[in-house]
């Protein structure tokens, strides 16, 4: 199945700074989704971008998708301590299959 690979593995920033995480995948997709996971909790959906879209915004989140490079990025602006979590990308095929990567661990220091 399709797997997303996040980069970097870990990111540490100060509150108020922006955080950028990248995702690469290998085959054609129907859509790509980003999720957040707080320690010991389930994953929470953040944003979905379809294969025919290039950019999407939701609050402080901005996602881009480049299907020619098979890559996506998630930008969190004006980060807060509460944004500390692991972030996963999930590229979905038309068959509905996806395997998440091992995520980017974001630490936002107050």
């Amino acid at each position: 199945s399709q797997q997303g690979e996040e980069d970097p593995q870990a990111l540490s920033i100060q509150e108020g700074e922006n955080a950028t995480m990248n995702c690469s995948y290998k085959t054609s997709i129907n859509n790509l989704q980003w999720y957040r996971q707080n320690s010991g909790r389930g994953l929470v959906h953040l944003i979905l971008i379809r294969s025919n879209e290039r950019e999407k915004h939701s609050g402080r989140l901005r996602v881009t998708l480049d299907t020619s490079k098979k890559s996506s990025s998630l930008l969190i602006t004006a980060s807060r301590a509460a944004d500390t979590a692991s972030y996963f990308c999930a590229p979905f095929t038309n068959a509905g299959k996806s395997t998440f990567g091992d995520g980017t661990t974001l630490t936002v220091k107050p």
Partner: protein, 113 residues
């Protein structure tokens, strides 16, 4: 009201035992999933059911048997547990297959001793 609930949250058992994890969703979704998250946080799909029918079955040992009595429930039974089965198992649901957003349960941490 919890949207996707799984029980038990923690499960500690001996090698060779058989155990089950239950999942229920009250969102009216057609599609349900089981994912396995290993110690490195790598999250891999195991199974997917759409309206009680199996639609995705990844390369999973046949000791793992999902059962969907109705579209709101997807249970996971594991026979002859092995050390490598220790992981966090997540149930998820979506409105339909391919429609996007997955709603995840809080996970069931299985430890095999």
């Amino acid at each position: 009201d919890t949207a996707v609930s799984q029980t038990p949250k923690y499960l500690v058992t001996q090698m060779g035992n058989d155990k089950s994890i239950k999942c229920e969703q009250n969102l009216g979704h057609d599609t349900m999933y089981w994912y396995k998250q290993d110690s490195k946080k790598f999250l891999k799909i195991m199974f997917s059911y759409n309206n009680k029918e199996l639609i995705i079955n990844e390369t999973v040992p046949n000791r793992f048997s999902p059962k969907s009595p109705d579209k709101a429930h997807l249970n996971l039974h594991i026979n002859s547990l092995e050390l490598g089965d220790s992981a966090v198992y997540f149930c998820a649901s979506s409105l339909r297959t391919n429609t996007g957003e997955l709603f995840f349960g809080e996970g069931s941490r299985l430890t095999v001793l």
